[in-house]
Point group: D2
């Protein structure tokens, strides 16, 4: 029957009913069906190393066995699927695990708000809360930022604001350069001056919102010093510091939060993507308790209580983050990627403009979009799925599963290395 | 072990870590764990008829067996969990089922856009698309509307706009009365005049957005004539007609779309909540093909390709909506509810201001919030979970599973009847 | 020399340097040079009765002798021309006259704020102050309103908002129908319902802003009942009631303020146009003392202290408004216009849709723009300058000098009557 | 009678009726009545050198005899006072003089648009036109900018935007540093990077708006290089370059336009304040002909045709700007001021932070507001009126009449020098 269907409804015919807005399927046109660890399979039985990881939602790989088992048990027991913000056993277990495994060991004292299960919704909630708590309207966001597609989140997303005046409302957001954006010396002094000097035209904002590692913007990694400077500036101005860890969090950077590298503590953290551990929609905010000025129901959302996600999220925290071995392996894989990037930078210096990595979050900027696309296509043909990012779509973004083992990583990097060799010599 | 946890982490202690924004758990403080059909169970083994249905996300009841089986099979086979907008077998099957079971039999020719899996995100996408397609900014929304919590959706939500100037941007939305809001004769003529007469101050909008049955607003049901009038007006003005069927769709009204009652066809339909069939986050737009002016990736969202939801959604469409018996039973249950409302209106005319129902979407407006709350509390104590809605929170909102059988419905309505008797005599 | 210049620089050549934005000179292409009483003269010596009165800025006619003398004396004495908001003798005299002749006799206790000398600036100041005083953003304005061209004033101007999304920011303004706009019964009940019922989407506003007689909108006269209803509504909602008397004030309506007809007292009055008495730029607000919450300099403007205007304004108040004879004559002229309108309505019922007048503010709506334009052109050719207004530019707007005597009025109306006869039979 | 009035209505009592918004009269509490050349007189007969010049509206001093005569003749002849945008002889003469004396000799080919007679209205018109012409919304303005108090102008005014979220709408304005604002090297490179690099979050704007010499912002003078850089950037980005010459124009800088110093030609010039020559309200735009995309009447304003201002403006252009002697004297006075500033900088280096001057536009920044205020008060007591400016109100702003002669300038500077000596030693 499957075969018959395939004949009648090829992916091509699917396109005729799905909106023109679809994008990834234009680059990776296979019809996928199965995932296992680092591998993604299509209906023809072809297999790819998956360095896309559903845009960072599958940090622990496809169908991690412990999470899958926990979920199957939960479903078989007729566990409640979705429950708004009612108390459920599954939510309680998650909150407990989060507290025990993540927050307390790191000396963090945050409260937790569950949001509609998209990263954008967490960003919307964070901006609203910062505005309510401070009584201010302005928000400072950064060049190359990406925070989501809903109106509020998009208004703080540098690349999108640029082109979307048609349907985007002006929304009191000022954009300043993310570390390194201008390539000029004294860059952060510039930011500081504009914010601290009366008459600049940029009022002390309700909030700063920043991705400690920018993903869509080109894998740009803020240094500990820069983040500390921002923390200090926010304190001086009475502004809320929001870290969007939607893509950089949940182990992607080598630690649970990417801000752990900087020893800087934000007032609000946005988490989504990999927080559920196996790609189930989930999103939350961590809040400084003093900022929790919400009225009951003031920000809600139907699927903020999706218990399947709580179940897998709990298992992900307890299984991986309580494990010393997991954390050691993470460091090792990160080092291996860094070494590969180093070698490529040296070997392909003519075409390879810049590399960057933190843990298993890595970027390779090519000299132009065409080169990047050619490499991406070659990888796809030879068994590796890899995304592009950056304002000019000229950067390969590597998001391998953080559970990848040495052999798998070597093999995948070999595919990428061969593609680089082919197009960058 | 579970028992121990219960002692240490009672729901009360959960509250200390969860944000003040939580709301339903304040009204229904039990800790829930299991759902089966029309019943919701807590960790103490207590059982409730569930007329909340996760705000309408569980139209087919808790853990409908066919959907559950399909999902278990999918998970056991290591089906891809989440896949952005890549082609997957699960998505293809869903699109096929939607086309065969829902669209074609109704003569509908829509294209499908998958959105971030919240209703709000579908609304955001719809408004953006209408603005892009028409080159206009203005949107007309209606009194008592509720479309979601993100900035764009909230700016079209009557009740919320009222109080949230602090963090909501002005966004070119004009509000006009939903049918019956003013209680005055010629109400729609008023709407028509304001929109069709030069100089009114309300420009021909990009879109009208309306819930054919308003849920949060108090179970307000637009008549076929009113919806037809709106269709005509939108055509005259060159505006896009958007129906938000997030709560009213997927069988809630007695038909798949509530607009089927009116034989009026919108240009864009927003679906979410029960579209996945068992409470898994999912959201989509149906679009007139000519409106599909998106550029690739212009509106996206990480979890727009949550395959578990596609699997259960496919099964829901094929299992229920292809079944004549299901549709017959729906009509019968709707009639039974209508009869009960009729009797109560007669018996409790002093306290019962208004009832309304379409299919299994019913509202009972009491004379004040206090009465409504008292009835709600009594129901909760005696085994029925039921929500309140309306601008003054004075309306009981009945969202029983659409698969409820006669005996179950009788029993549940008896609980509600007893509570009415106690508080309305 | 003048003649030579005329040959070289005809009005036509002027057009080549003046922006395309010019408008009145396209309809009345003469080059004017002199004005005296009700007459305007061009450089060729032709003479027109002037019912345009510089859009209502010349209520006392051209160069009223007493005002002219006072101004000449002031200039000859080297009186300060412009002085920001410094104290000057001329300003003191004006404030005294305003207090003695206008405010006290009417039992009004307003404070006075001088604005940049445009009506728009007074409107901007009024809206800002209402927002500051109430802490609310929303403003309710009315269909066919016109309050000025700057961003804030334009955002409350119904006709202009309609077409200017390109350069106009959304600004929390809701538009509701001015009396009679919809032609439907219970019209004000609609307004009241939308504003008083929770869930309408229209928050209790900072302010209502309304012209008691709409000029640009088509000479629409609010009844005392309607204005009283608005006053009551504003009080209930805690909103500031702003009357824009920029065109309707200074005697145009037969009384100094048009709101005197209604015995309704607004919280803020905007005055400009004829307040200086002979066309000198001037603008002010009258404020309920409790609303005067400005910080020093919070709203300013260079020419808010133009002393020439104070001098002529003082003389206008003392010369005309202290005179019983002037007020009697005003009543008589108003009655004569009303009678003429009555007769024309009867005689030309096929083409004459509607007439309206209050004092010397009168409108004649024709069946279409073409008829109105033809009449306007015939008048211009036969010695009468008269403007058109209304959303469809189909209404003749009569703004004769309020000092016109019986013979002059008769003669001017005869010209208009002849033109009507020619085009409306 | 005047005496009696003075007793009854002292300035103090005036305050009880004038709004709290008044500001200058709190610093200079005299009641003024007469002005002659560089002198301002009060009703007590006291005399001040006037370096305030009505915020730069009286560049040619009080009541310049030739202008006064021309105005008296015009009034005596019953010249039309105000005429909207009708053609008048007075307007024609002004346009001719502007063309012959200012535009053509400078090789400028602008069209002229008359605006409501406030600088703010010219700014509003310029921003609207730039948005209409480019189809873009964004505007780039600069730190310490001041463009006026109406909503659109204020949204581009750095200092005011900072504090007025309450009543100011977000309006797509981005603020970047005016030359020298940050004190950092590569400052303009920052500006360039943020505007030219994709992903910065700042879209290519409709317009740049800048004061070549910032007045309210602290007498900050843009260098020719900086202005040329801006011109180049605007061209690259397809943006309109707007120079606000409202305070810096009409000879204040030593030339008619301050941008003549830079040999940079903007696309739109805003003029007001001293354009009428003797303080009569007037405002206009100069436009690149290709930008004149207005529809007739699209931006208007009642007092855009105030003929008295045309009369005095014409005389000012013909009398002063056609005179070689006047221009020579301007240079000499400018040099004398520069020399004085130089000496004071040297003598009072402990308290005197910065001086700046261009022509007769000069600023002296003190170490703090208190010092600046003390000097200002001493000056007032000893016969000199002088304003303060800057974000911290710590800068003395010198706006002497540009017609001041050497002796007068010496005398006035001596008063200031004495005050500096008293407070800065």
């Amino acid at each position: 029957m499957d075969n018959m269907e395939t004949e009648i409804h090829s992916p091509a015919s699917l396109s005729t009913i799905e909106s023109e807005v679809r994008s990834y399927c234009r680059v990776f046109p296979a019809e996928f069906c199965r995932g296992e660890g680092v591998f993604l399979y299509d209906t023809q039985g072809r297999r790819w190393y998956d360095f896309l990881s559903a845009a960072g939602s599958l940090n622990y790989g496809h169908n991690p066995p412990m999470l899958k088992s926990a979920l199957l048990r939960y479903i078989e027991s007729d566990g409640v699927t979705t429950s708004l913000d009612l108390h459920t056993r599954a939510k309680r277990s998650f909150l407990q695990a989060l507290d025990e495994v993540i927050l307390r060991p790191r000396g963090l004292d945050y409260k937790v708000q569950f949001c509609g299960p998209t990263g954008a919704n967490a960003v919307e909630a964070a901006l609203k809360l910062a505005r309510k708590a401070t009584g201010r309207q302005g928000v400072v966001a950064f060049s190359n930022s990406y925070h989501g597609m809903s109106t509020g989140a998009m208004s703080a997303s540098a690349s999108h604001r640029r082109r979307n005046e048609t349907y985007l409302s002006a929304n009191w957001v000022d954009f300043l350069p993310f570390e390194g954006f201008t390539g000029l010396p004294h860059e952060f002094d510039f930011v500081r001056k504009l914010l601290r000097t009366r008459g600049s035209g940029i009022a002390p904002p309700a909030a700063f919102i920043v991705e400690p590692v920018q993903g869509e913007g080109g894998v740009n990694i803020a240094s500990p010093e820069w983040l500390a400077g921002l923390r200090e500036l926010a304190d001086e101005l009475g502004a809320v510091l929001i870290f969007d860890e939607i893509q950089s969090g949940c182990g992607r950077s080598g630690r649970f939060f990417s801000f752990e590298h900087a020893r800087v503590q934000p007032d609000i953290v946005c988490l989504s993507k990999s927080i559920s551990g196996m790609g189930l929609p989930m999103s939350l905010l961590l809040l400084e308790p003093s900022l929790d000025v919400w009225s009951p129901g003031e920000h809600n959302g139907t699927f903020r209580g999706f218990n399947y996600a709580f179940v897998t999220a709990t298992e992900a925290l307890r299984h991986y983050w309580a494990s010393e071995e997991f954390r050691t392996s993470l460091q090792a894989r990160g080092a291996e990627i860094e070494a590969a990037l180093h070698n490529w930078s040296r070997d392909y210096s003519r075409h390879l403009v810049r590399t960057s990595s933190q843990g298993l979050f890595a970027g390779i900027q090519l000299d132009c979009e065409a080169t990047a696309r050619a490499i991406q296509e070659t990888c796809y043909e030879t068994g590796l799925i890899i995304e592009r990012c950056g304002a000019d779509a000229d950067t390969l973004k590597l998001l391998p599963p953080v559970v990848i083992n040495r052999e798998e990583l070597d093999a995948a990097l070999r595919i990428l290395g061969d593609a680089l060799a082919r197009h960058c010599r």
